[in-house]
């Protein structure tokens, strides 16, 4: 028992000694670690201070660079505005000159088209001439009809003369020759009158259709001119806008 007790006391003593030795070792280690941390902290703080100084220096440089850049941008914008203003003024002047030129040409065109539409007066003159021609043809028809009546009368007279010459017998033989000749001339004159009448009707048709062709062609020109005038007005309205 005593032995056991001694053994227990020995163990307890050993444990206390061990505990003390262990604590001492730990305390020494802690003290050494604390010394190392203080050195490291000091170095870190020094490094931080140095870096902060560099950062401050760089920040200052950056601010200066930004200020310089903003100045440069400001100058560039001002120059750009001046260029744009100048270019705009030049463009406006060019456009204004082009519009004025186009408007001038358009006004000239409008006057020319208005003058062209005056061609209707020429057609009125042609119409008057055509009416004169038709009246003249009508007069020729009447004269020819009168001529045809005379010729028909001559044919009858020549026929009667031939009959009278035949009645006179031998004494009227010479007169019969004259009467027959007169009859032949009358027949030829009648044929000529008929031919002349046909030609007058043909002349009426040619004169009428030729005049109508000119008149219709003139209306075609006026219609085209009116279309151009309308387009020209639209161009003027667009240029004035």
């Amino acid at each position: 028992m005593m032995e056991v007790l001694i053994l227990l006391c020995g163990c307890a003593l050993g444990a206390v000694v061990g505990w003390w030795l262990c604590g001492r070792t730990l305390r020494n280690a802690a003290l050494q670690t604390e010394d190392v941390g203080k050195d490291a902290q000091w170095e870190v703080e020094n490094e931080n201070a140095r870096l902060q100084s560099q950062v401050d220096h760089l920040h200052s440089s950056l601010q200066q660079a930004q200020a310089s850049m903003q100045n440069a941008i400001g100058q560039w914008e001002q120059e750009q505005r001046q260029i744009e203003h100048s270019a705009g003024q030049q463009t406006q002047a060019v456009v204004r000159a082009v519009v004025q030129g186009a408007m001038g040409h358009s006004q000239t065109l409008a006057k020319a088209l208005a003058d062209l539409q005056g061609i209707s007066k020429t057609f009125e003159r042609w119409h008057a001439d055509m009416s004169k021609l038709v009246t003249h043809n009508k007069d020729m028809h009447e004269k020819n009809d009168e001529f045809a009546r005379i010729v028909r009368q001559m044919v009858i007279v020549a026929l009667n003369a031939s009959i009278e010459a035949a009645r006179a017998g031998g004494a009227g033989r010479g007169f019969a020759v004259v009467a027959n000749e007169m009859r032949t001339l009358s027949v030829n004159a009648e044929a000529l009158s008929k031919h002349y009448r046909d030609n007058l009707y043909k002349n009426d048709l040619i004169a009428t259709t030729t005049f109508q062709d000119m008149q219709a062609g003139g209306k075609m020109i006026i219609n085209a001119s009116m279309g151009l005038e309308l387009t020209n007005r639209k161009i003027q309205a667009a240029l004035s806008a």
Binding site: R197, L205, I206, F211, Q212, D213, Q215, A216, K219, I221
Partner: protein, 184 residues
Amino acid sequence: MTLSQRARDSLDSMMIAGLRQGMGPQHSEMQIRTVPAVEQDSLTHMAVLSIASYSFRVIAALHFAHDARTRAWIAGVVGQDEREMGPQPFIDAICEVGNMCCGAMNRELGAFYDCLGLSTPQILDIRSLPHMAQIGTDHLQHFRIDMPGGLPLHATLCARAYTPMDFHWKPPEVEQVAGELEFF
């Protein structure tokens, strides 16, 4: 051939459609057909009109008799009292029918040709008609207009093309209303 066959046929169809339009819708029983020649014996005058373009010319003529029967007919067309219609209003009314006919042709030709012009009508003696073939033509076609009362009316179309002319025109189809079923 300067004037193609289908252009000739188209012009003939336009002339027939124009005559129908010029004479008004009251002549629905009127028949118009092409004939080889115009029977001039019953006719005295013709109203002549021209349609002109740069490249062609069309002459249309409406042949009529200057008599009481035609005056009665034309008075009905223009809605005037026959007894009050003197010689000049009679001629004016005939010219108006010709004008309507050629105006319709002019409009239809406008679908194919941009620049066209129509003349005013002129009255000529019917004895000028035989010379129509001699004034220079590529296409000459006569028409007989059969009216219900037997009124003598004819027409002539004369076309000349100065450059090749080819187009195809068909008259507009008339809406068919007959044959619909009715339910009571």
